[in-house]
Every structure is written in C-alpha cells, then in structure tokens.
Chain length 411, copies 2
C-alpha cells in the first residue's frame, strides 16, 4: 500500500494553529495553561471531532484524538508531541509533532484501513516547562508527586490557580496515570534544535537516545578581606575558585566526554563589591549525556573538579545535586520501523542524539518509544526565526504514517 | 626637650569614645552623619573646649581643635584622621589618629611652648565612605564636585537629607576649601590594616606612599543558546570569557606587578539560568599600586587581558573605568622628621606602603603630608577584633608629639 498524508490539509492546520498566540516577527507565544494555550487545545479538539475521532482528555490536561479499532482488547499506538511554546518561540517546535500525528490518524481513518490496534494522537501539557517541564508526560506515566505541584521554586499559588483554571485539579492528577499494558508504543516527530541534519543535507534524523541531565549548585566559601591590604598569598578568594572551576569543568568534560555537554549559568558573589575579596561564590552547573552511565561519570567528575578547585584556592565548597533526569535509549524495534519507512519514502536519514528533553523521553519509561527529527534551518530553536522547509514536514508526516501502518499491521 | 603625652588621659579619651556606637563584641558603629557620628563629634568638641583650644568646623563637616601661635602670619600644621567607622568596625581605625593628635596639641598647650605655627587637630567627615569616601578631605582641598554630592550610584535623597541634618548645606560645601599657603603640612597616625609591622616586631611604620586605585566594569557579550543542543565549538559563552579573565588578571598582574594588588568583585550573568548558555557576564575589577605610572601600566594590562579573553572565546567586551584615584608619594621631608622622632623615642620603625586610602592621601594633593602606621595584631581591620597594643598607641602619640615640635620649631 502506498498511502500518503494530505500535505495541503496539514499546511492549513499548521497555518491556522500558528495564528493562535502569534507574535510580531512570525513567532508564537502559547505558554502552558495560558489563554492562548487553552485556545489551541479548543482548536485541536475541534479538528479531532471534525475528523470523526474520539476526543479524550485526562486529569493532567493531556488532550488526545483516538481512532479505535474493532478489537476491544487492542492496545493503543500513541503519537504526538505538544502545542505549548516558550515565550516568543517558533511555529514548528511541538506543533509539527501533534499536527502530523493528527494528519496520519485522519488519513488512516479516511482510508478505512482495518487496524489491529487503536491509534491516539496526543498533545502533552506544558512540555516546555512554563510551570513544570514535561508536566503532562510525567502525569501520564504516574511520576508526578505532590512536590512537583508544590515545588517551592515555583510561585505555587499562581501555578495551582493556572491548573484549576485549565480544569486540572491537583488531587485528581494521579488518575491521569495510564496502564503500560494498554499501550503499544509512542512515536514523536519533532524538529531538530541543532544544525546537524540541515548541514548534512538529511531529510530525517533517527533519534537513538535522549540525553540525561544532572544539575548542581556549587558554592565556594572563602574569607572576606580588604581588597587593598590583603596580599595575594593571604587571600581565600571564593570567586577565583569559582572561575577556575568554570574553566576547568568545560575543558575537562569536553575533553573526556565526547557526547556530553556542560553549561555553567547563574553566578552570585558575596559580598558583592569590588573592594572586598569575595567570601562566597555560587554557580549552577549542568551536564547532559545520552548514556546514563557516562552521565554518572560526568557528575562524579564535576564533584571532583569542584573539590580540586576548592583545594587549590584554600576554600571550602558545597555541592548540591538539584536536578537529575536519566538518559533514555529509544526503542530499537521502533527505530527499525522508522528506518525502513524512511527507505520506502526515499528519505535520507542518519542517526542522531537529542540533547534536549522531549515527551518521548518520559513515555519511554513505560512503553517503547522513538522519535524522528526533521531538519531545522541553521538549527535556530525557541526563536521566531525557527524554520523547517515544508517538504521536510510532509516527508516526516509520510514517514510517520508508514511507520504507524507497519506497527499497526505487524501487531 | 623631652616632652611626653599623658597616656592615661589618652586612654580615658579612647575608652569614652569607644562607648559611642559601641556594638556587642567590642566593635563600634559610627556611620558618617549618623546619630552616633554626631554624638562623637559633640564629644570631640567638648574635649577641644575643655583643653582651651578653639573649636573650628567647616562647610563640609570637618571638626577641628586649633592652638594658635602669636604670629598672625603663621601657617598651620595639621594633624588628625577620622572618627567615623564602617558598620561594626574596630575601635582603633581613625580614632587613634584623632585622639593622639588632640593629646599632642593639649600636651604642647599645657607645656606653654612657644611655636612658630598654629596647630590644628582635625576630624575628617566620612573617611570610610558611608556616603562618599573621603568626603571631608576632598571638600577641604576643594575637589568635591556637585556630581560627588549627586552621585547617581548613591541614594542621593538620603545622602542630602543626612548632610542637611548634620548642618552641611551642599551649596556651601565649596567654601570648605582651604588655601594651601596657610597650611604647613599634614600628619596622620593610623593603625596598619595588614600584619606586616606586627609580624616584623616593629613599633612604627613610616608610610612611604599610598596606593592609587583604578576600578573597571568589564562586561562580556556572547550569544544565548540552548545549553543542550549547542556544541562546545558553537558556543559564544560570555561566562567562560569572564571566568578566564578573572583567573588571568590575578595570575598575570600578581606576576608582573610586585607591589600591585588586584581584586574582582561583583559578577552578574544573563540570562541567569543553568540551561541557557550565558549571553552576558559583567564583573568589577580593581587594581591598586603605590606608583602612579605602574598603576597606569596595570590598567592598560587589565584592558588588554580583558580583550584577549574576549578574542579567545569569540566574545565582544565593554570596559568602563568607573573610578581612579592617583597614588601619592608621602613627603620625604616629613618622613625624615618622623624617622628622627622614632629614633629619639627608641621606636623600631620600617618603611611601609599603604594599600588602603587615607585622608593623608587627599591632603597630600595640596600640602606636604606624611603618615605613620601602628602595629595591628594579626592585621585584623574593619572588624570588632581589630586590636593594637596600648603601648604602641602611646609610642605613636609620642612620636607624633616629637615630630610636631620638630616641625613647629624648625619652621
């Protein structure tokens, strides 16, 4: 069979959706649970009903269109992504995954193909983390704790108000948990947020793994002293220790962990003035790696380097791990399906690692999951200039369609 | 003649003064223009009148006790320091200079010695910079501009209110300017704010020069990017540039400028979060050197190093000089007087550089000035634990007395 999606219809959806929360300069702002996010969900629900699919929503705000097969025992093959965006983000991130999923289910529905599984296209809540990164996906796999909803780092009152306004009742959220036995797998189409595919002239990236991430707060403690009368030898300068660490952690980790990335953000110095030797310097450091074990090694390296710098500058150091997300290896079986679909569609493909988090990373914890990336011109991401050539979006949708059919029949 | 000061009377003054603004733990808080600073001035004025000296105050709040000689044409030999302190500072910083000056003038007055010049012991306003560092001294030499009073970095409203409350009318301040022709010189006694004299077992330090100081704001500009999807090669990380600069500026300047000191304080990173590559990193760097030309070389070195780091990390950099104070060589003639006085008093002395600013540094711009330092145990400064053995204070006062007499007669 050589079924194809309707590129024009997909483009029409894409352009309509881009109008919701459109910003000057061609960007989009649809912050999770905002009015524009609500409008996008309503619009999505209308498309689902229009297609004669079943509108399904759960207790954490995930919104789906379902095509059921005749077998009441059948599992469900899920596809999708997210419709929310960062402030003034691009029109492709997330949207492409949800809309091509919808287009595929619609196409299969219209073709009247008999399937051995149900199909579900899902829009996950707050993937971008306006309130809580990957909220919907975590809720669906049953990993949301009350701490997540009462995160002290958030303005929790506003968060809860936003949840209630969106009809999400925190006490009900646990009921959003799905039974893994009911799910066949999860497929996600997403634009690449880097330049690898575009510069390599590829049509599709087969995501082999999604990086794990570990974040530390590192604080150096020295001694405040008169910046004029204290000799270089006498000083216990917390800022020099922090600076040495920032340089070292980049040099060493980039050297020792080819597939890893490291970043230092926020820096705070006490007392915050030019004529006193800093007694305290805090910073945030995060490392990412596609291999969980390597990520663990990176973390230990970060800790050792932080301690080395403390020793070198006669400081004490406090190191707190504030965030940890495991790396995920995508399902090899599903990747093979994606690959053969690419070949059948004459889509040039290459394996690629995702250095950003995605809903598929969370879904992978309860069901076989896989992703494909589409080329993003110059890799511009979270930016109105984000752009993917339309023929790549169509190719991606057709690869997804073919993959869904392969899996649905193979079952 | 072998005149000596009255150590008991000096100690009584010292202990009375230390009660004004006394803090728990033996410290003192007499912020310039505060109630406690006002109380200290009133107490000082009482001591001056008690001694039968003339109470003189000027338009910038400096308060003096004057002993006039018979010659109406005579110049004035000035001695003194400041009675204000930093928050919870020590009892010796500033106070020792004013009180030993008062004690010397009193002693000479009582001895009925005929002098060829007037003597004046002065308490300068806000040496510590609660509002404006060295305010009184700058006012006296006529170097206070209206910008100084309207410094945009200050809460100017509060500053002006404090000035008015202390009876200092900004429009009147220019009238505090003295005619250099009327001044013979200025002598200041101060505790050392470092450990050199104490560890060398000296009684007195002959201050050869006071460091100049240049302060820069350095801001690196890179490019904000996704901390996960941006490779190490692609990054233009402003924080890495700033960190490299912090390390380099300490290493290189300590290496190249033996008598110089450098300090980096305040650091600010934008966007201030761990998962975005920093697009901006600002910091303050200050360098001090006792030699004006060397200080100039240090400053140029700072600028070149800042630019080198910008190049190394593919960043642009903005460098603003925000403060510059010339280094001052103390008067050789007055230092010789101090030295011979030390010898006569059997006070072990050594030359020393002042790495902190002092009123003498400003006075030196209009009249020959010199300072002596007294040993500070462990060099503790701006701290309740600041301590100088009393016999050292007495020795310092007697050295000052002898020096004043030498100069007054020599004139």
């Amino acid at each position: 069979m050589n079924l194809k999606i309707d590129g024009k219809r997909l483009l029409k959806d894409f352009e309509e959706l881009a109008e919701i929360g459109a910003t000057i300069g061609g960007g989009v702002t649809r912050l999770a649970l905002s009015n524009d996010d609500m409008a996008a969900r309503a619009w999505f629900a209308d498309r689902i009903e229009e297609a004669g699919l079943w509108v399904k929503d759960d207790e954490v705000g995930n919104l789906s269109g379902v095509l059921s097969c005749d077998n009441p025992e059948a599992k469900t093959l899920m596809v999708g992504s997210h419709l929310d965006t960062v402030p003034n983000g691009g029109r492709y991130d997330g949207a492409v995954g949800v809309l091509s999923g919808l287009e595929c289910v619609r196409t299969i529905q219209e073709a009247g193909i008999k399937l051995n599984c149900n199909l579900e296209v899902i829009n996950f809540t707050d993937e971008e983390g306006t309130w809580k990164s990957l909220l919907g996906a975590y809720g669906l796999i049953g990993k949301l704790t009350s701490e997540d909803i009462n995160d002290s780092l958030q303005d929790n009152g506003a968060f809860r108000a936003a949840l209630y306004r969106a009809g999400i009742l925190p006490p009900e959220i646990p009921r959003a948990k799905r039974n893994p036995d009911d799910i066949l797998g999860f497929l996600e189409v997403h634009i690449e947020q880097s330049n690898k595919l575009h510069s390599a002239g590829m049509d599709v990236g087969l995501v082999t793994s999604i990086v794990g991430r570990t974040t530390f707060n590192v604080t150096y403690y020295g001694e405040a002293a008169h910046a004029g009368t204290t000799t270089a030898e006498e000083r216990r300068d917390a800022l020099q220790g922090a600076a040495a660490f920032i340089i070292l952690v980049h040099t060493v980790l980039n050297q020792e962990f080819e597939d890893g990335v490291v970043n230092c953000g926020h820096v705070n110095v006490q007392p915050d003035t030019f004529n006193v030797v800093p007694s305290q310097a805090s910073l945030h450091v995060e490392c990412r790696h596609p291999d969980t074990e390597k990520l663990q090694q990176m973390s230990s390296r970060v800790v050792r380097l932080a301690q080395d710098c403390a020793k070198d500058y006669r400081l004490s150091v406090g190191i707190d791990r504030v965030l940890h997300r495991e790396a995920e290896q995508m399902s090899q079986a599903l990747l093979d399906e994606f690959r053969s679909a690419c070949d059948a569609e004459d889509a040039k493909h290459m394996p690629i690692i995702s250095y950003a988090g995605h809903d598929a990373q969370i879904m992978n914890q309860i069901t076989p999951s896989a992703m494909i990336f589409l080329p993003s011109v110059n890799g511009v991401s979270h930016n109105p200039k984000e752009f993917t050539e339309w023929h790549h979006v169509e190719t991606g949708a057709n690869v997804l369609l073919r993959t869904m059919l392969q899996i649905a029949d193979a079952d």
